[in-house]
């Protein structure tokens, strides 16, 4: 069972109380962008095995979107953080690097 702590209400929420929102920190390519950029924005995901940043919504709870860093292979959760950020905050990066010294934010 995957448990993520919502940074807005503090509830340690079971996966079944949450709605998944896919990969986090995507840069939007909208009107005026090239077909290649638009396609990549809509469809192309690295789908990594390992450290991954994700969007989740506390759907059966406070209703807020938040972000989570976890390992897709081991399900280890490094941390959760507020959605109002375009990159993982330093404490999340540090928490990941403490467990995965080889990993870096690229």
């Amino acid at each position: 069972m995957l448990v993520l702590t919502c940074p807005y209400c503090g509830v340690a929420a079971c996966e079944t109380e949450l709605a998944p929102g896919g990969e986090a920190h995507l840069k939007r390519f909208g009107p005026g962008s090239s077909d290649e950029d638009f396609e990549a924005y809509l469809f192309l995901r690295p789908n990594v095995k390992g450290v991954h940043f994700e969007r989740w919504r506390h759907a059966m709870g406070c209703g807020k979107w938040f972000l989570a860093a976890r390992d897709t292979a081991t399900l280890e959760v490094f941390g959760t953080y507020r959605a109002q950020t375009s990159a993982p905050p330093p404490e999340i990066v540090a928490a990941i690097q403490a467990k995965r010294p080889d990993w870096s934010l690229t």
Partner: protein
């Protein structure tokens, strides 16, 4: 028209490991606002201090529950809900907010019995940690397949709120979980 209002499942009651009872007409007002900016107005209207995260504060004839960083639920008399909306709207003039009487959009249930049995009956149908839920804390979660909010008025008295459209489903799920023979003796 309000004198003709009926609750979702008038008189519904089931007794087993605990008693499950539909509570009849209950006033509920949702307020969405910047809660820190609205604290004084909320206190003036309800008599309650602004609740902390997931907390419930008692006011004058009502209680105020923290539902999200920008949302409160005020529980009051059904007949006083429209007045509550009016007073909140007036007290928050000039502040971005919305106050709505949601009484007829919800159903509320009382579960009463032994504290451990209550937590067992709820735990069978929610992933929330009922052992960690103390009186005065509001826990939004799911009951089986639908959203619900659960809190304890006292150790032996739990309350459940759900959308009115799923009132029958929630009552049946709770009544089934409370059926004799289903004791798990965990809490």
């Amino acid at each position: 028209m309000s004198d003709q209002a009926v609750s979702a499942l008038p008189g519904a009651e089931a007794t087993g490991l605990v008693t499950v009872r539909e509570m009849g007409l209950q006033g509920m007002v949702t307020l969405r606002a910047d809660l820190s900016a609205a604290a004084r107005a909320v206190q003036r209207v309800t008599g309650a201090a602004m609740p902390g995260v997931r907390r419930i504060e008692a006011g004058k004839g009502c209680s105020v529950a923290w539902m999200s960083p920008d949302e409160l639920l005020i529980l009051c008399d059904r007949a006083g809900a429209d007045r509550m909306v009016f007073d909140l709207t007036e007290a928050l003039t000039g502040q971005h907010h919305v106050a709505v009487n949601v009484s007829d959009a919800r159903a509320m249930f009382a579960l009463e019995g032994a504290p451990g049995g209550l937590r067992d009956v709820l735990s069978k149908v929610t992933p929330a940690d009922m052992g960690a839920l103390v009186p005065g804390e509001m826990r939004r979660t799911r009951l089986a397949q639908v959203p619900a909010a659960i809190w304890f008025e006292a150790e032996g008295a739990a309350r459940v709120i759900c959308f009115r459209s799923v009132a029958r489903y929630v009552f049946d799920v709770l009544a089934m979980s409370a059926r004799p023979g289903g004791a798990v003796d965990y809490h």
